[in-house]
Symmetry: C2
Subunit: 199 residues, 2 copies
């Protein structure tokens, strides 16, 4: 590697620190930057700093935002009474991308995981309860993952919300659309059978 | 994609302009930068600009350098009389990485390609001839590629150098080390047979 000038080596090193970028790829990227117009390098360079400067958590849903209140929380066309609880911003993006959901979100920023020292105070559960208590929320859709931690987090939140006048639902688990029943794991199939619904 | 705040989207767009980085990977990289310490983003950001500011062509060999004369050309331990001619800096790096070559380099910055309007004046052939004419060079190793253009460029340079008192050699083509003879293409095998040497 040390056959390149120092400034190229430095960029290769920085690129190879990114996840999934090995040394060979980092080298190819650096060579691309070398050939590319200066404007392109400047664009990437400033976008990196911009992201670190501007992105923060939305004061309402704790999703990623570059304003005090994020675009979804600030959208009057969204059903304010319907709140979907997810673990991380990426899950919110996945649901948005799928389309169809017209409510708002609450991003927990994690799951309960006592083994790793993450209890109810470490994630945004208190803020969710406050949001429900302050009124206006009619339904909470628990869309945390189907891992042990995700399920435990959903159960815990459901328990906390029980005394409050709000409908609590859980996103359905089951056979994926287009999935072949014989390739679906037993746990999923069992759950799909238990939560079957009337057509 | 537009479910992210603008500053994240901008970084995703910039990442996805890099070669081999699709939208999904760009998204993953941006999320990594978001979680990573600010210092890491700053490092990559400044390395990008640094590369564009500092890297230039070595005044002697036209390889990549961040000084007037590159590390290899400035190395007194290198055999100044032995000059290896390659097409691009990447080939120089490959030869250096392989090790064993103790001479210097001359990077043409391309190959002759009349179809694409690249004639002898478009690449650094004149500079090579000047370098040989100014004395001190005893052997030129032509290590341009084995493509039609690479071969033509090597022939052309050999022709130009003929009148000068310099030994002209061509890097060997043949069966790769560890390669199975029956999987080697006919052209390579034919060449390997023609350029066989006495043991």
């Amino acid at each position: 590697m040390n056959h390149y000038p120092a400034s190229i080596l430095r960029l290769i090193t920085h690129f190879s620190r990114l996840p999934g970028i090995g040394e060979k790829t980092a080298e190819r990227l650096a060579m691309h930057v070398l050939r590319a117009p200066r404007k392109e390098a400047e664009g990437l360079s400033s976008a990196l700093l911009d992201l670190k400067d501007k992105v923060r958590l939305c004061a309402e849903c704790f999703g990623l935002s570059d304003t005090e209140i994020c675009r979804i929380c600030g959208d009057p066309g969204r059903e304010a009474g319907l709140v979907c609880v997810v673990e991380q911003p990426a899950e919110m993006v996945a649901i948005e991308r799928a389309g169809g959901f017209r409510g708002k979100y609450h991003i927990l920023q994690g799951t309960l995981s006592p083994m790793n020292g993450i209890g109810p105070d470490e994630i945004r559960i208190k803020e969710l309860l406050e949001r429900v208590e302050s009124g206006g929320v009619t339904e909470i859709v628990l869309a945390t993952g189907t891992s042990v931690e995700g399920e435990a987090t959903a159960s815990y939140i459901a328990e906390c919300l029980k005394p409050l006048p709000v409908k609590i639902t859980r996103i359905a688990s089951g056979v994926p659309i287009g999935g072949d029943l014989k390739f679906v794991d037993g746990m999923t199939l069992k759950r799909a059978m238990e939560t079957r619904h009337v057509l």
